[in-house]
């Protein structure tokens, strides 16, 4: 009955290979100052013993974890999967790992996210903000812990990154005006959504910048059902030839609502959404929409932390523009 040793350490490998612990360490890091034949001998010993370097020992010695923490108040949320893909991709690139943590949203503060992370093996942290934390203005990141917030608001002490919601609306409105539409009607979202309100501002201000007084908006609640109702309401407005909905579900609902009143899309009315979330779900339409690069948002956040770890610091704010994807729900009036 062989006693199972708890774990294999450099000491064991060193003994078997007949070298010092330091030489083993150097071999692990592929230092050029170890003779190739010695390296081979050490590697053979590692293989034989099944050596795996111990993360805790290394981190303790080095004072670095090579890990980025991600704090989320809600895991489930549009775009989170793509963002995580970005986190993972960037982490991989830098040789980092990602530690994911769900933070209780009561209270909804950056401080609670920060203190949660402080006990974990991370060199920096990313906080995904879905709404406005109570302490946004007063929050100070932990000393030595690079902190990046995923939000479109700017913070004096933390770098921030997010999709550019304002620019998204600008693109859509200018696209529609460029197709000869005289104005653009808007289906908004509940007022508590930060990003939704920013889209609304973009719509309003872009119209004004073109000398057009924004028409009365229709307030929706993100669901296709509310878009359907909005479509029926707007079907009666003869000045309405172009509709911009705050998301794709409402855009699709709107199309069906318009059609239920006998108005055709895009022949009579053009419709544009945001999010590119319909994917393959709808068979009869290719909705014109704006696609956001959430993966890039995630990558930027982790890149920032990894770079800061290498020396360069400095607070930065990044807004990443979306791309308008042309479908077949917009008519060119020119």
């Amino acid at each position: 009955m062989a006693a199972v040793k708890k774990s294999v350490s450099v000491k064991d490998v060193a003994r078997l290979a007949g070298v010092s612990e330091q030489t083993v360490s150097r071999t692990v890091h592929d230092s050029p100052s170890v003779r190739p034949e010695t390296k081979e001998r050490v590697r053979a010993a590692m293989r034989e013993l099944g050596y795996r370097s111990n993360f805790a020992g290394r981190s303790l010695r080095r004072g670095k974890f090579k890990t980025v923490g991600v704090a989320m108040f809600n895991i489930t949320g549009t775009g989170n999967l793509d963002r995580m893909e970005g986190f993972a991709a960037a982490a991989d690139k830098h040789g980092y790992a990602i530690t994911l943590t769900k933070v209780d949203g009561h209270p909804y503060t950056l401080e609670s996210a920060s203190s949660r992370m402080s006990a974990l093996p991370v060199d920096g942290m990313v906080v995904i903000m879905n709404r406005m934390p109570a302490d946004f203005g007063t929050f100070e990141p932990l000393p030595g812990m690079q902190t990046v917030l995923v939000t479109m608001l700017e913070h004096p002490l933390c770098s921030t990154v997010d999709n550019d919601q304002f620019d998204c609306s600008r693109q859509v409105v200018e696209y529609l005006l460029g197709r000869g539409h005289k104005t653009v009607h808007f289906i908004s979202c509940p007022e508590r959504s930060l990003s939704g309100m920013r889209r609304e501002e973009g719509w309003r201000e872009t119209l004004r910048a073109h000398g057009i007084e924004p028409p009365r908006l229709v307030r929706g609640d993100w669901t296709a059902q509310s878009g359907y109702a909005a479509g029926q309401a707007l079907a009666e407005d003869p000045t309405c030839t172009a509709i911009y909905a705050s998301n794709d579900a409402m855009a699709y609902g709107c199309i069906r609502g318009l059609e239920s009143c006998g108005r055709r899309v895009p022949e009579d009315v053009s419709v544009v959404g945001v999010d590119d979330s319909l994917g393959d779900i709808v068979p009869d339409r290719r909705l014109t929409t704006v696609r956001f690069d959430n993966k890039r948002v995630g990558m930027w956040a982790v890149d920032k932390i990894a770079d800061a770890d290498g020396g360069a610091s400095g607070v930065e704010h990044m807004l990443i523009p979306g791309v308008l994807v042309e479908g077949d729900t917009v008519r060119d009036l020119c």
Copy 2:
């Protein structure tokens, strides 16, 4: 100019509080054998110095990380977000953290996931399998590393957990037969999908178990477009009164395809999907579908690892049934 000390350790706290390091440690863990007033003094010192316990030191000493690694070949995939929600929730419950890693799928082996994890601070690992790894049969988990696979296949050495795809089909078929339909037509998916093929088996075997020879299936490709085509094809079959599609996108496409041929849903034909992925996207239908509890799948995996850490081991295989959600796309013929 105050020199910034790298980090505050128990030693610093002990000195300031006038106690030994051990007493500080005991206070951190809220040991009952420290006088309340001493504890308070130590806590005050910790606050004053901004003490945060060092993860590496603790892990090194204890030999445990209180962390579960999650290896994914593809981050983006149906249900992954819900699974992660489950990972995070269960981890939270046990005082664990989650470390997320994207594993390169070339080659697509469990070994590559395992060796990737071995260098990270984790006590156990979860691998999300999307397809069949080349080494599924021969894989051996790392000694001392509890490994759970998210797959419906059983493994001799690793615990496994996944949605019960077979039972899902059984539920749907029996539901439709129970509503008086004489048979159930099926829209399948590409043959490379493990879970899709299992759904197909479930459909076929349940029909046979009821003495019904399965009709010829229509092969789809997960998209609504393919469902649309399938709907048009099935519209001409007078024996077809009930259709079961392998996912919701195809089910919705199928409905639109049937309608384009003048057949009404559910009056003429009943349609059922799988996944509950339409959500709020479609305004005019509440699709009858099967909802999977991916969060529970995720929780089960992490629970298993945390429990194993506490002693109980043993390989287990868990299939979690979905729930049929009634919408308004099925007609009761009875």
